[in-house]
Subunit: 138 residues, 6 copies
Amino acid sequence: MYTVCVRDHFMIAHSFRGETFGPAQRLHGATYVVDLELRRAELDADGVVVDIGLAGKALAAVLAELSYRNLDEEDGFSGRNTTTEFLAREVFERVTRRIAAGELGASAYGITALRVTLHESHVAWGSYEGALPTSAGH
Amino acid sequence: MYTVCVRDHFMIAHSFRGETFGPAQRLHGATYVVDLELRRAELDADGVVVDIGLAGKALAAVLAELSYRNLDEEDGFSGRNTTTEFLAREVFERVTRRIAAGELGASAYGITALRVTLHESHVAWGSYEGALPTSAGH
Amino acid sequence: MYTVCVRDHFMIAHSFRGETFGPAQRLHGATYVVDLELRRAELDADGVVVDIGLAGKALAAVLAELSYRNLDEEDGFSGRNTTTEFLAREVFERVTRRIAAGELGASAYGITALRVTLHESHVAWGSYEGALPTSAGH
Amino acid sequence: MYTVCVRDHFMIAHSFRGETFGPAQRLHGATYVVDLELRRAELDADGVVVDIGLAGKALAAVLAELSYRNLDEEDGFSGRNTTTEFLAREVFERVTRRIAAGELGASAYGITALRVTLHESHVAWGSYEGALPTSAGH
Amino acid sequence: MYTVCVRDHFMIAHSFRGETFGPAQRLHGATYVVDLELRRAELDADGVVVDIGLAGKALAAVLAELSYRNLDEEDGFSGRNTTTEFLAREVFERVTRRIAAGELGASAYGITALRVTLHESHVAWGSYEGALPTSAGH
Amino acid sequence: MYTVCVRDHFMIAHSFRGETFGPAQRLHGATYVVDLELRRAELDADGVVVDIGLAGKALAAVLAELSYRNLDEEDGFSGRNTTTEFLAREVFERVTRRIAAGELGASAYGITALRVTLHESHVAWGSYEGALPTSAGH
């Protein structure tokens, strides 16, 4: 199994609901350094997992949708705690849609799984990983 | 699959038995920077894998049992080589018991697997990972 | 010249005023991983630059004053852009006051300079460094 | 499952064919920081996954075969794009052969899987992982 | 004294002349992860050392002049060993010229010193630092 | 000013005397990841600060004198707390002597200053830096 990973980051404000979160119930924020891993069993004709330039652009585009925002005021997140692990899945879903839409190139339909890791500090990170829907339609 | 990771460290003295270990047969020591990864398929009602504050406290408590000690003189390790990979499992087992005892909160019974990684230098690390016993009793 | 460094982090929300800042004019946030460096020419009687435990506690106390807050609403920062470099100096000043107040122990009066570095992502950091006032009063 | 990882690096020149690669079609180069992970279910009699000294030597030997070379002129790579993920597999195969040849010691026949990761910058890496052939012959 | 740092990277091929360099006399290559530090005594009116967006663009522009090239064939480097430390100064000089040309904005004339660090692997780096010419002309 | 840095590590046992040290008064240990920085104003005829291969060997030789030992039982450290900052200076002095003895080559007499940093964990490090004696004798 091959994996390629590209890294980028985004910066947001948010707050959490629930006593579990202690002082993080107050409005605060975070930098998330994001690792996007793309996986497949065999390389494509160019000898790569994915066009790494397109992968980087797709990740940057997804993060630009989130960055420099107060997530408490984003419609899609209403009533949700935008925790690190929740956001990891959100990035996973958005990248998955861009792959399906062809933004990472035709070869990217061969990607079988993704993992998205959000580093929130030097001592904590969260991730979401999963298989991609089969690309039979392509 | 979701993962959350918390990091901490401990510092110990020890020695190894066996010609394989060369100069490490002498009494020496190590700093271990420890990554504790906790995994589950779905987030809990708060939108988290685990109460990260409780996870950090449990890891710190486990490491305090080991840190600032000469492991050659600890009863539990008599006759064992306390290698990086051996200690990774030891931390795994101790964290597992604390989860079972409820120290990470009721939601933590939903955690299905752990991975413990001990970084011993900038060029070497060891880890142990495994499924947790099913939490049917809870 | 000797230096000792301790690391911790804090997480805040804020926004910037000025066209220079582009999308960062919106309310967003950041994790700052903070390195506090303490410097002196000679070690104290214990063979250290500073009691590293007390240094870590002082840094944690300073960061707790800032963390999990919206800095736009903190009185002390009214009308200021709380940039990385601005906050580095803020941490510098607050640690300096704690040293002067004796929180890092009597030996810490021998510290002659500090450097505070705030890492805001994997690709950017800011710092402030300066000499400490002479400790003639002690 | 236990894992042990050793790290080393190599430095090469190469170029890529295919419009996908943009300016990387020109002769350029890379430093690859290599993580070799070795995995097995149970520790050996010494309490280790592998003799870490031998593992490090085997990795260094494999990387010395590649380092300080223009891969475009190496016979084995003729007509291939020596991408990060391609080279990760190449290192995987070469380490696998050294394990089979006994260079990592008899205990290393118990290793069941490897992962090789090549970090090409602070924002990108590629890896190849796979099971080792069963060691029934030994 | 305030410092702000931005990070980027470039990838080149080259070879060295001189027995000192051993196997690095062969054509090989490197990834250089570059830290550009900009320093000044006081912040500007926006509360920053420099417009970090412009600083990042200027660094990227300088690195694009070097990246994906065989430095042995670049006119400016004829007869020179393009070592890590040599290239650190080269980046320093090129960024200095862009600051003087106003590419980092008018406020950047207040920058008094730069440091450029090139990380060539996980175990080696080189840097060049120096004062900037006084900006009396501005 | 140019700087080149090489990294290596060593692993020791020791204990500290003094109530300041709390549980670190017990026999424990540490991994120290060591950065040796060598500085000079101008490059030598090869275009380098130092023969980086010789610098790495000298650092490895110094660390081999310390590694895999209980420092409490080393004659040279009798009655001393072998703290991180103390050991940083010790490495500084030993490297300085090797430079003076010509182990880093004749060009290394042009090195004017060293900095030695010992990273003891992901949250703490200590360093010692100083000018080298003038090399008039050479």
